[in-house]
């Protein structure tokens, strides 16, 4: 089959990253990977 002149574009860089991976690579250090706790919750936790 002919291949396209231009390369295909992998929208996610071709990697199956879960939410935790995406956030860790973004340098976020959130609770359980993607939870933002407010000050009251942080105190409790």
């Amino acid at each position: 089959l002919p291949t396209a002149k231009l390369l295909d574009h992998d929208v996610d860089g071709g990697r199956d990253r879960d939410i935790i991976d995406i956030n860790e690579e973004a340098g976020l250090n959130l609770v359980e990977g993607d939870i933002v706790l407010d000050e009251r919750q942080t105190r409790n936790s």
């Binding site: 295909d8 574009h9 992998d10 609770v31």
Partner: protein
């Protein structure tokens, strides 16, 4: 999360910030449609409510848990977060969901391998006790979209979560759609009774056929069968898997007389939105001249018995196959759906028209269907890095596109389905704008579950950004395929140009593709849609009640005053003053609204001051008691001495 204070109203105000990617905005709106179809949660553009969700492009995908009553509550959909399940996941957090494996009872169902967790990340495997988190009476759900995957926070290659039932080890962490239990919890948390845009679903397994009725004024009836002479041998819901069940509706054209009709009508339905999608599976074993037509019977005061309105004749030549069909409707009155079978010719061959798995919802229909037959065989026997292509489909938007699928994955991705969307142009195509501006193409692998609200279809969307450059080239990626694509010869010998594809090599694993009803009767069905999303390139309007933006109305003295936290500078007795934003139970204050107060803080302050007053009083009391004691002691000791003198 336990606590009514964390609940949102059932219709949640949202504001999409300008920094969001256009594709993400489109997928967010699709996620909202899934909430409306499968629950009573609805979303509406923020119109000045005290608390709303501000969706912005942060560094990743994250949210708070529950309604925090902070006014503008942020939820981030950053790069690579534009997958529908990721967005649904973050909104479930905002609605008050923790992660599934943080349930108080999780240790009954999964084992946490603590030595395999990255150092310092162990706290991410905490559980919340049952005073903080409630499972709402729903059993532990390995299939929840709120469950970590088995590799979460791993320090090596071994799984950090091991399910106590091994069969679920690759189920946890699914990011396709809501699971049944996710929706059950959501319904319980928000007292949902039904999906806002759901109207009806029928698999004819019950004898009451979902309240459908035989129409009047016809000459024949539809009958409920498990198999029909001339076909089909099974229904579509169960496909013969379960004895004693598996029914469908059949109009036997073989025994009908020429011109006979048979009407099958739905129960009365009450639309809210004014547009609907009728979806059903259709088996045609009749003569080519026999037809299936779709009508709606609409009721209003002037026509209490209803008015029949023709919608369309189903194009579906006789074939030994349950065909999937979609019909777009635009009904605004109380109505019934009407299926009319007609015996067209004189042939008496055994067979007829059959219907199964009918679904009706107030949603837009997918535009195109690409059925891949013998899908398991295709997955197993197509060489790696070898694509198959859907037919080119010309969208209502005027552009033609097609999907490429790598059944065995792209190079380096064995065990995966890889999927890409391509623009297509035919020789001499004119009248289109190139590069293609802001069209969102969605590729959905359909979960062929009979009930639309239980489908966990897997979808990915890409949007044609007209400014996007191709990798390593200054050519525009979404330019005319006659310029940036390659020439392809179609199966019928005609030629067209296919542009480069945008998509992902990790569309879905083979394991998941073999699960649920993605493959049914051996076939997989891809639903393809192209939608115009150019309206999402402009800012979402701010609510009119928001104080006017500081612009021409700003008095001169305000030009050098900066009000923070959304405060507005106004002229107050010839001096600049900041008017601060307030909410139900919070407010900003200070000369530039730099401080934040809340009812909670006020209560804390009141408590603190009363405690300190109490404390001071206690100290004063203690001191005075001590003084008085000392005084009496002194006096009594001086009396004692006097006594001795006389003795």
């Amino acid at each position: 999360i336990i606590g009514d204070e964390y609940r949102w109203p059932k219709t949640i105000p949202y504001y999409m910030e300008d920094d969001l990617e256009i594709n993400a905005k489109g997928v967010i709106l699709k996620a909202f449609e899934q909430y409306r179809l499968k629950s009573c949660i609805d979303f509406k553009p923020w119109s000045g409510e005290a608390n709303y969700i501000s969706i912005f492009k942060g560094g990743g995908c994250f949210s708070s848990v529950g309604n925090r009553h902070v006014g503008k509550q942020s939820l981030s959909i950053g790069t690579n977060c534009d997958r529908i399940a990721t967005i649904e996941h973050e909104f479930l957090h905002a609605l008050g969901f923790w992660h599934e494996q943080s349930r108080a009872d999780r240790d009954d169902y999964v084992r946490i391998m603590w030595d395999r967790i990255s150092e310092g990340k162990e706290h991410n495997f905490n559980t919340y006790n049952d005073t903080t988190s409630s499972s709402l009476g729903v059993p532990y759900d390995y299939g929840s979209m709120m469950h970590y995957s088995k590799n979460a926070f791993q320090n090596g290659t071994e799984p950090t979560i091991v399910t106590k039932i091994p069969a679920f080890s690759d189920v946890i962490g699914q990011r396709m759609e809501f699971s049944d239990s996710d929706l059950l919890k959501l319904h319980r948390l928000y007292n949902c009774t039904q999906g806002s845009t759901f109207l009806d679903s029928c698999d004819f397994e019950r004898e009451n056929i979902c309240g459908m009725i035989q129409g009047h004024g016809d000459q024949a009836d539809w009958v409920r069968l498990a198999r029909a002479t001339g076909g089909p041998d099974t229904d579509y819901s169960n496909m013969g898997k379960c004895t004693g069940s598996g029914y469908f509706m059949h109009f036997n054209t073989g025994t009908a007389k020429t011109g006979d009709t048979a009407l099958l009508e739905s129960r009365l339905l009450y639309p809210k939105r004014g547009y609907q999608c009728l979806q059903f599976f259709y088996y045609n074993s009749a003569e080519p001249s026999d037809t299936l037509k779709i009508y709606v019977r609409e009721y209003d005061k002037a026509h209490p018995n209803g008015t029949l309105r023709f919608i369309k004749t189903i194009e579906g030549s006789p074939q030994n196959l349950w065909q999937l069909h979609h019909v777009s409707l635009d009904v605004k009155l109380k109505f019934r759906i009407v299926f009319e079978g007609t015996k067209g010719g004189s042939g008496a061959s055994a067979g007829g028209l059959s219907l199964d798995d009918i679904n009706l919802s107030e949603t837009t229909c997918p535009e195109f269907i690409w059925r891949v037959k013998n899908f398991s065989h295709v997955m197993e026997n197509t060489p790696l890095n070898t694509p198959i292509f859907s037919p080119p489909f010309t969208s209502k938007e005027g552009y033609t596109f097609q999907m490429s699928l790598y059944p065995s994955g792209k190079e380096g991705y064995p065990g995966e389905l890889s999927a890409y969307a391509h623009l297509v142009a035919r020789e001499g195509d004119t009248g289109k704008t190139w590069p293609c501006p802001w069209k969102q193409m969605t590729m959905m692998l359909m979960d062929q579950h009979p009930h639309i609200q239980k489908r966990m279809s897997n979808q990915r969307s890409v949007t044609t950004d007209p400014n996007m450059k191709a990798t390593g080239s200054d050519q525009l990626f979404w330019d005319d395929p006659q310029k940036v694509g390659v020439e392809v010869t179609d199966t019928d010998g005609s030629k067209y140009y296919r542009g480069p594809g945008a998509g992902t090599p990790v569309y879905l694993t083979h394991l998941r593709a073999k699960s649920r009803d993605f493959i049914k009767g051996g076939d997989a069905i891809f639903l393809l849609t192209m939608e115009d999303v150019s309206h999402l390139t402009v800012s979402q309007p701010l609510p009119s009640t928001t104080p006017p933006p500081v612009s021409s109305t700003t008095p001169d003295v305000c030009l050098n005053v900066k009000c923070q936290n959304g405060g507005v500078c106004v002229l107050d007795t010839d001096k600049a003053a900041c008017r601060c934003v307030v909410g139900d139970d919070w407010w900003y204050y200070g000369d530039s609204c730099q401080y934040k107060g809340s009812v909670m803080d006020k209560n804390t302050l009141a408590l603190a001051s009363s405690l300190s007053v109490l404390g001071v009083m206690l100290v004063v009391t203690a001191v005075s008691v001590i003084c008085v004691k000392k005084k009496y002691k002194k006096r009594s000791s001086s009396d004692l001495v006097m006594g001795n003198v006389y003795a």
